[in-house]
């Protein structure tokens, strides 16, 4: 055990010496990997920050059932009762908005006051406003109910107020797939960069590898410094990448906060949680070591 630890310590020392002996090349590799890694990190920051907003918005979906203009008075109340009776377990509130109440509410808005004065009568229909109970398949349920109610007698239109949230969710799904593809592309960039770095190192250390084998080095002994090289380069690059993403979020958040303020909202992008970042660093280090192993296995067959 002690022997193995000593061999690891030796490999680590050799790796650090090799990294320091070629500072510009080491730094260039590190920066390439760091910049590549910062892209999916920024994407993840965007997704992670937008997801709760979408979730918050989608917990209060409303369906508005507009009745036909010629619907008899009291039909809105009948439809409200039918909804409470048939779909009571799915709804949290059902209220009737008569055409008179709607007009009164609209007139209270100074922006509409002038426009409504020129109209000969009340152009608004009776309506039933239904708030659904939150749940996993909310979007699907809302869709199904809207389809069902549209067939009821006296109903002109069922408006799904949360449709735009569904569109946002679909957009987020698309973004998640995009982010996955971006992460895969970046993983390929990391693999290729480490593979090539280790290949160059292995070729420049050809003599040392040959001598080490001559004096009885095992293949693990030969490979170990290269695995450390891949893992150290990638973990450092991941940390730098996090720093780059953090810096990039500052101007992005400045721009975003003025936009959010204009909507009277408070919204900012933030990096994924620390635990997730630690996992990302470890995963990238493992990817680097894996790529180094593949490269050293292919490039030290002499």
């Amino acid at each position: 055990m002690k022997t193995l630890l000593r061999q690891h310590r030796y490999a680590l020392a050799v790796t650090m010496k090799r990294l320091v002996s070629q500072p510009f090349s080491s730094l260039a590799n590190l920066l390439v990997i760091a910049l590549a890694l910062s892209l999916p990190l920024l994407g993840a920051s965007l997704l992670i920050s937008v997801q709760p907003v979408a979730r918050e918005l989608s917990v209060t979906p409303e369906l508005t059932v507009f009745l036909k203009m010629d619907a008899a008075s009291g039909q809105a109340e009948q439809i409200a009762t039918k909804i409470r009776k048939e779909h009571g377990e799915q709804t949290s509130s059902v209220r009737v908005m008569t055409k008179d109440a709607a007009l009164k509410e609209l007139r209270a808005n100074p922006a509409w006051e002038q426009a409504l004065k020129v109209l000969p009568g009340n152009p608004l229909p009776d309506a039933v406003i239904v708030t659904l109970k939150p749940g996993e398949d909310l979007a699907l349920r809302a869709d199904k109910l809207a389809k069902d109610w549209r067939t009821w007698s006296g109903v002109e239109l069922v408006q799904l107020d949360s449709a735009w949230v569904q569109r946002l969710e679909a957009l987020l799904r698309f973004a998640r797939i995009g982010l996955l593809l971006l992460a895969l592309s970046v993983a390929l960039v990391v693999l290729a960069t480490v593979f090539n770095t280790v290949r160059m190192q292995a070729l420049s250390q050809r003599e040392e590898i040959g001598v080490a084998r001559l004096v009885g080095a095992t293949e693990s002994f030969v490979r170990r410094p290269f695995l450390y090289l891949g893992a150290i380069t990638c973990s450092l690059a991941a940390v730098v990448g996090i720093g780059v993403a953090r810096l990039a979020l500052i101007p992005l958040n400045n721009a975003l906060s003025s936009l959010a303020r204009s909507y009277d909202a408070d919204f900012a992008l933030s990096l994924p949680p620390v635990a997730m970042l630690v996992i990302a660093v470890v995963a990238v280090a493992a990817l680097g070591a894996l790529s180094a192993r593949w490269s050293v296995q292919r490039n030290t067959r002499f």
Partner: protein, 224 residues
């Protein structure tokens, strides 16, 4: 200790470099391998060190059949055989002592013990005052002695050297040979490939002669 049984060696489909070689070297012997250039002396030594496989026949080194040795076990055999090749293969990116420390790092020896062992090896070959020098700063004879120090630092049971005195002046050659003789005297089996007849006459206790396609044990102890 070293046993060759009907060993043949050829490269590709070419002619045999070594043909039907059978001999046995017991522990503590000092053997010279003589013959003209290209006769196969280096190939024979490399086969003992496990650096070249035979095309046919069996080789046993230190009680282990090389053809039965797994790829994982081969490095451990190499630690028991100190190899000095014609080209010394010293590493010029580090000091003399760090060249000698490499075989000890391979075995995972404690750093303080390794340094002491490396210093002792350099002292045995008369290079203790030059441990911090880069090999490029050493003379040809000193580089040979440094290669010997690197080969013996792991205390191998067998020492093989390929033309260790080539291109060296007489005095330096004798200094190198006396280093080998000192190791042999403490029980290290030593095989040296050389074409220096005068040196062989002075140091050899047993000589193998390899001519193209023919192997002869001049001591008469090996039978075909």
């Amino acid at each position: 200790m070293i046993e060759f049984k009907h060993v043949f060696k050829s490269y590709g489909r070419g002619r045999n470099i070594l043909s039907d070689i059978t001999f046995r070297v017991t522990a503590g012997e000092f053997v010279f391998v003589a013959g003209p250039s290209g006769a196969g002396k280096s190939t024979l030594l490399k086969m003992i060190g496990g650096l070249e496989p035979p095309s046919r026949g069996s080789i046993e080194v230190n009680g282990q059949r090389l053809d039965e040795l797994s790829a994982r076990a081969r490095p451990y055999l190499r630690r028991a055989v100190g190899v000095i090749l014609q080209d010394t293969h010293l590493l010029y990116d580090r000091s003399a002592i760090n060249n000698v420390l490499l075989p000890l790092a391979v075995t995972g020896l404690a750093p303080e013990l390794a340094r002491a062992r490396a210093r002792a090896a350099l002292e045995k070959v008369g290079l203790s005052s030059k441990e911090d020098m880069n090999p490029i700063e050493l003379s040809g004879g000193e580089q040979q002695r440094l290669a010997i120090a690197r080969a013996i630092v792991n205390r191998p049971a067998i020492l093989i050297a390929d033309e260790p005195t080539a291109n060296l002046d007489r005095d330096t050659a004798h200094r190198i040979m006396s280093v080998f003789r000192d190791f042999n005297r403490v029980g290290v089996t030593t095989l040296i490939a050389s074409h220096d007849e005068a040196l062989m006459a002075e140091y050899a206790s047993r000589t193998f002669r390899i001519d193209p396609g023919k192997f002869t044990d001049l001591s008469g102890r090996s039978k075909p």
